[in-house]
Structure formats: C-alpha cells, structure tokens
C-alpha cells in the first residue's frame, strides 16, 4: 500500500513541478540555515572533557572588594600570584595547578632557518593528569621537578615533527629564548576545544600550544604572561618582576580537581576560610567572597559561546519556522485543489485514514527532497561560514555523518509536522459535496 501511495504522491508532485520545487526549496533552505548555524554552535558549545568536567573547578577570590564592582570592575577571573601560591602550598584538592600562557622564541641551530615563536603554558605537573593529556613519547615531569624548578619541557607532536621529524625526542634538549630545556614528553594530538583552561585569556579556539614548562621555572626566569593581567588601583606596587608578581594584579589561572560533592564543599569552605584569613591579616577589608565553578559552569561564565553564534542560531530557527508555515500554506493549497479527487476516492470506499496516509506519503517525499536539498545547502553553508564567523571558529564547523543525518531527519520531521494540518484537512473532505458540485 505504501508503494502505491508513494507512486500516487510522485505523480501528484510531478503535476505541478513549480509548486513542488517551491516546497522542497523552502524546506531545504530553512533546514540548511538552521543546520549550518547549529554546526557552528555545536562546535563552540561542546564540552571539551565530558568525563571529568564535573570534577574540575576554577576558583575566584574577591581581592579588590565590593567597591571595585561598584566602579564597574568585574571580579577577576584569574588569581594573583600570591593567592595561587598559597592555594598550591595548602594542596587541599586531589590535584591542582596554576597556569599562565607564555610566548618564547626558538632559535634553530641552522643559520638558514629563521627563528620562530613558540606558544605554550607554564603549569604544574598535575596539569597533565588532571586534564588527561595523552602522550606520544615520555610523559609529564613529576612533582619533585616542580619543587626543584627544573629546566624541563613537554612539547607538542607538531613541534616534535618540526624539530625532530617525529622521532622520539625524549631526553634531548631545546633552547627556548636564552635557556636550554630537556624534553621529558611529547604530547599526542591534544587540543581540547574550547581550550577550557585558558578561556580567560583567549577565545578558546586557537592553534594547539607548542610547549608546557614548569611554572616554578618560568617564574625564576621572569617570564611575563602572554595573557591578560587585571589590576585595580595598584599604582603603589614596587617596580620590576618581583613587584609585579607580588602586586594585587590577577593573571594566574587556577584549576583544582575535586572528585565528589563532599570534597567540593570542603574546598569551598577552605577558600572562604582563606579569604577570611586574609581579612584578619589586614589584606582584605570586606566580607570574604569566593566562587568555585566547575568546568561547564566556567565555560558558561566566561561566555565562550560568542553572542553572534547564539543570535544566528535563534534567528535561523525563526527562519525555519517561517519556512514551515510557508510549507503548510503551500501544501494546503496543493492538497485542497484535489478535493474533487479525494471526494471520488472517498465515495469509492477509501477511509479517512487511507486518504490521510496517502497525503502523508506525498508530504514525506517532499520532506526527503527537502532533506537532500538541505544537505547540499548545508555543505555550501559550511563553506560560507568563514565569511560570517571568526576563522578560528568557522573551521570547526564541519559537515560530518551526524550532521548530514541530522539534516535529513530534521527536514523529514519538520515537513511531516508541517503536513499535519493539510493532510488532516484533506482527510476531512466531504465526498458528497465534491461529487455534487461536479
């Protein structure tokens, strides 16, 4: 029976090709615009570490007091060096790390190759186990090397390719800026997007970092942060790097791993007590205030999904809605034009349900057509997103099997939803009226 309905549908669709094409195009364009913007949205709103995102936390401490907020300064989304060091010393979480972005230069041995810049992070040994960093060769440095301020480095597979043609380079030395570092590990392809541990400094979608080195070593060498520094009324600070790190400027990112809600609550208490201690020591003069957000909450708080991406998604969904209303109208017109035919079929014994099924089959064919057109337009859209979104973000919007599947399903379901009313109307045609008027 279905095959028969499909045949009937095909014939009917071919009878007014322009109207059919209009419906298919409307559905296709509507679905494609939603799917293209959804592909971008999906890429930027993805959870970069789903299995651990509820265990990783970023703290904030109110170091500037309520007055700063009254003046429009937000609570800093990083810690001061002083606070980060205090938290690290206390080691109240299962794992913890302070992080800051660094930018160094690498001078190749050969005179013929130009020096190049390497970007990366100064961090603690826990960084790698907390964030499940995969290694191609070697591994992370260990905690004792943090304490010894060792000159070691973990490099990316890309840098390893560039310098050592992909060979196991563990134990070899590279010269960054004016110091030598021993390679202890080569990271396998690892670039979580968004880069949750650095969204306070970057948009979260940049190229993977080239190197990681011990935080303690970076501070020894007076490496400046390559990220943001937020200060509030710190004109009185002492000059030099030492004056900078001991100022009330916030620039150190901090992450703590807290495996369960109990440890989370304990850590919250610990932070509050820490702030209260600072009060007693005369550093703060206000009610202790801290926040502790897990990874997902942190990404939300840092507004990692750009407002442009959200607005475009909403507007293209609105667009899809208009396309669907349009389709309802066109289908209604198309089906009701055949009231006479329906009347004859009903008079010859077809039930309402059969009429309904027949027209639904026809609508489903429109939906499939719309889906195919939609996939084609989504492909075009994915090529065009570079015009609309930041290049870092645009290249994340890829057409893959799941997106194609989603496009087809979305086209079919929305067409069937649109067909609901027209098919119902078609099935309610009174046979007697139609026969009489003819």
């Amino acid at each position: 029976m279905l095959a028969h309905y499909l045949r009937l549908g095909m014939r009917s669709l071919r009878r007014n090709p322009i109207l059919t094409m209009l419906m298919v195009l409307t559905i296709g364009i509507g679905v494609a615009s939603s799917m293209t913007t959804y592909a971008v949205f999906r890429a930027v709103s993805a959870n970069p570490l789903p299995e651990k995102s509820s265990q990783l936390f970023a703290p904030q401490i109110d170091i500037w007091g309520p007055q700063s907020r009254a003046q429009g300064a937000d609570m800093p989304d990083a810690l001061t060096y002083t606070d980060a060091m205090a938290l690290l010393r206390d080691k109240k979480a299962r794992r913890q790390t302070a992080i800051y972005p660094v930018n160094l230069t690498l001078v190749p041995q050969s005179e013929r190759t130009e020096p190049f810049a390497v970007n990366g992070y100064a961090a603690y040994a826990d960084f790698f186990s907390m964030f499940k960093v995969p290694f191609l060769y070697g591994g992370a440095w260990d905690m004792s090397q943090d304490d010894m301020h060792s000159s070691v480095v973990v490099i990316s597979s890309q840098l390893n390719q560039q310098l050592f043609q992909g060979a196991d380079s563990v134990g070899r030395t590279i010269r960054l800026d004016d110091h030598d570092y021993e390679i202890v590990g080569v990271v396998d392809d690892w670039n979580p997007r968004p880069r949750f541990y650095d969204v306070n400094n970057s948009n979260g979608f940049t190229d993977p970092p080239d190197i990681f080195l011990p935080f303690t070593r970076a501070i020894d060498l007076q490496m400046n942060t390559n990220g943001n520094t937020n200060c509030y009324g710190s004109a009185g600070r002492k000059p030099g790097f030492d004056g900078f790190i001991h100022s009330d400027c916030a620039w150190v990112s901090y992450w703590a791993e807290l495996p369960d809600t109990k440890s989370e609550a304990a850590y919250r208490d610990y932070l509050t007590n820490y702030a209260a201690d600072q009060n007693r020591a005369g550093r703060f003069h206000w009610q202790p205030y801290i926040t502790l957000r897990n990874l997902a909450e942190w990404l939300d708080f840092e507004k990692v999904v750009p407002p442009e991406t959200r607005i475009s998604l909403w507007l293209s969904l609105g667009f899809l809605l208009v396309c669907l209303i349009n389709t309802i109208g066109l289908m209604l017109a198309k089906f009701m034009r055949r009231a006479g035919e329906i009347g004859v079929r009903r008079a010859l014994g077809a039930s309402r349900k059969e009429i309904w099924a027949q027209f639904l089959a026809e609508a489903a064919m429109v939906g499939v057509g719309g889906g195919v057109v939609g996939v084609a337009f989504t492909g075009l859209g994915a090529l065009g997103v570079g015009l609309v979104f930041e290049p870092d973000i645009a290249r994340l919007a890829r057409v893959n099997v799941s997106l194609i599947g989603l496009t087809l399903v979305c086209a079919l379901l929305s067409t069937l939803a649109a067909a609901f009313y027209p098919t119902w109307r078609a099935s309610r045609v009174q046979p007697a009226w139609q026969l009489k008027s003819n």
């Binding site: 109207l19 364009i29 001078v107 020096p115 004056g243 507007l315 009701m336």
Partner: protein
Amino acid sequence: MQIRPILATLRYHKAGTVLIAMQIALTLAIVCNAMFIIHQRLVRMDKPSGVEESNLVVVQNEWAGKPAAGQIAALMAADLDTLRKMPGVANVYATNTYPLSSSGIVNGIGHSPDKRNYVSQTAIYFSDENTLATLGLKLVEGRNFTANEISDLGDNDRIAPAVIIITRELAHRLYPDGSALGKTAYISDKPSIIIGIVDRLQIPWVDSSMAQFADCSTLLPFRQLLNTTHYVVNARPERLADVTARVRVTLYAAHRLRVIRPKDGVQTFAQVRATAYKSDRGMAILMGVISAVLLATTAAGIVGLASFWVGQRRKQIGVRRALGATRQDILGYFLTENLLIGMAGVVLGGLLAVGLNLWLMKQFEMERIAPGYVMTGVAMLLVLGQCAVFVPAWRASHVPPVEATRSV
C-alpha cells in the same frame, strides 16, 4: 471597494488567511530586528579610528633569544633607522600597540593619585616624537613630544609620565568646563601635564564592553623595551604595497635573530581593520542573507496561496464578471483582500518585533529598536505582499465571464 464581502469570504478560508498573516508577522519581526542589527554593526564599523589608515603598515617584531633591555634599545633604534631608509617610507615609530589591534593596556585617569578614583578609563599608547606624524593625527591644541622627552621603559617599570597627549574626548571628560591644555591629570600616582590634545584616536578594542571609552586614548612619551614591539610605518600610498612586501625581508637582512610571523607579522591597516571588525561584518552579512531569503520565501508563499485561491474561485470570478464587474474590480478585490491580510500580519508582526527585540536586549545586551525600523519593515512587507499578489490577481482579472457557464 467594498470591504465587507471580502471579510465575509475570508471566513471561508480561515486557515490560509491565518497562515499568511502569521508568516508576514514572523517575517516582519525577524527582518526588522535583523535590519537593526545590521545597522548597529555598520555604525560600529564606520567609526573613524582617527589615523591615516590608507598609508599605514604595522609590523609585529619579537626578538629571538631574549636580549637584555639595553640591547633591545640599540636593536630598536637600528630597526627604526633601517625602516626610515626604506624607499617609500615617510615615517615610522615603535609602540606597544595601535588602534584596532585588540591588545594593549587600559588605565584609569583622573584628578587624584588614588587610582581607584578615576574620571575615565583610557587606552595607553607608548609614543615618540614621530607618532603624530606617522599616524597622521590632528593636533588641535598644544604641542607634540620633543625627542628629549622620550624615555626608556623597561619591563615592569613604573609608568609615570611627566607629560602626556590626550584625545579631545578624554580632555573633555577630564575638564568639561574649559581647556585641558597645560593642566594635570593622574594616570599614575604622579601628576602628568597635558601638553597636547589630538582630535581623535580610537582605542585598540572595538568590543561593546569597551565602547564607553572608545575615544579616550592617552599618548605616553615612552620607548618600551619589551621583547615584542610593533613598528607602525607610514608609507606613501602608491608605495604601500611595495613596502608591505619588502619590509619583512629588509628587517631580517638587517638582523636575523627575530621573529616576524609569516602569517600576520606584517599587516596593512586595511587588514587590521578587516580583522578587528570580522565578526561585525560577518553578522551583518548573515542577517542580510537571512532577511533576503526570508522575504523571498514569504513572497513565494503569498504567490502560492493566492494562485490557489484564484484557481478555486474561477467560477465565482466568472459569475461576477458576467454580472458586470470590470477587470479592475476583480484585480482590486484580490489586492484589497491581500492588503487586509497583510495589515493583520503587520500589526501582529510589529508587536512580535518589539517582543523579539526585548528578548534580544535581555539575552544579548542589544539596544532598544528604533520605531523607524518597524515602520520601514511594515511598509516593506505591505509593498512586497502587494507585488507578490499582483500576478495571481492579474490572472484572476483575466478570467473570462464565460467561465461562469462552465462546470469544471
């Protein structure tokens, strides 16, 4: 034209009427807000930076191997000399940042050494005596820095300038009642004398969160000796392409131990501007495309449904024609019918547009839509609707009276 019979007929195809009205309403709501967003973005992109953009090339230089501050001063002086000698280069200076670069330093500036107590925030540009000429800034009051006022500033040194040059907007904020020239302002805990006022100089950021002080910039007489420096080069317009192409090679030839990134180390100001406003332009394009396709879809929908109605009523039209209605009467009937539906749609759509705007304001910190956009949208959709219905209506008016006597 009698409206009552039209309304009576509409009662017989409620579904189609409601669908078209709804489609018009939603289209109106989306299109006016899209137009409003486009306009806002274009206004933002149109903001003058105050610099002579067509002549400028910027070079981001990093010294390789971390030379000491003393060495950097010599290297930098040599670079400026090399650049100045390049054919086609009119002027050059070294700085921490430049307008639209998206990075830099923000400080508070005010009348008190307590920095928590400032009048305005301001972007900080490290400058020398060539900055005004290189950027093509218009000095409206006072004087430029002299060469001996420029001092070296090492990493993490205290920033406490004796003299500063500020923008007119900042001068007005600091001294609303008179000229700021010669007066003092605190950008550090020491007072600085305002020696010059430039007409306009935009800050490095174009984000809406910083729009509040977008024109409040301060020039400080410092040569900052950091590992990373930006050279701003003013080239004669006809030599701009040539200078852009050669500058990297020229600098490497003079000194090898440096990094000028191949991808974006050298940029014309046109590229800087394009990068800074990329998301604004993208948003405007997206909104434009969505609006255009949406309007086309709605027009197609009106044509489709109107054609169906005409087809359905051929017999009635024939009867009316036989009873003496002219072609104009029939044409007028369909145009009026569509206009009535359209008007219902735009009334609903106007409300929806305002509602959508309120929601966008809440979610995305957008501004309140100006009534002009809704009005324009209403006019646009009504005209579009009338144009769309014209062909089916014209076809209807050509239904011959003899149609009345035929049965299908």
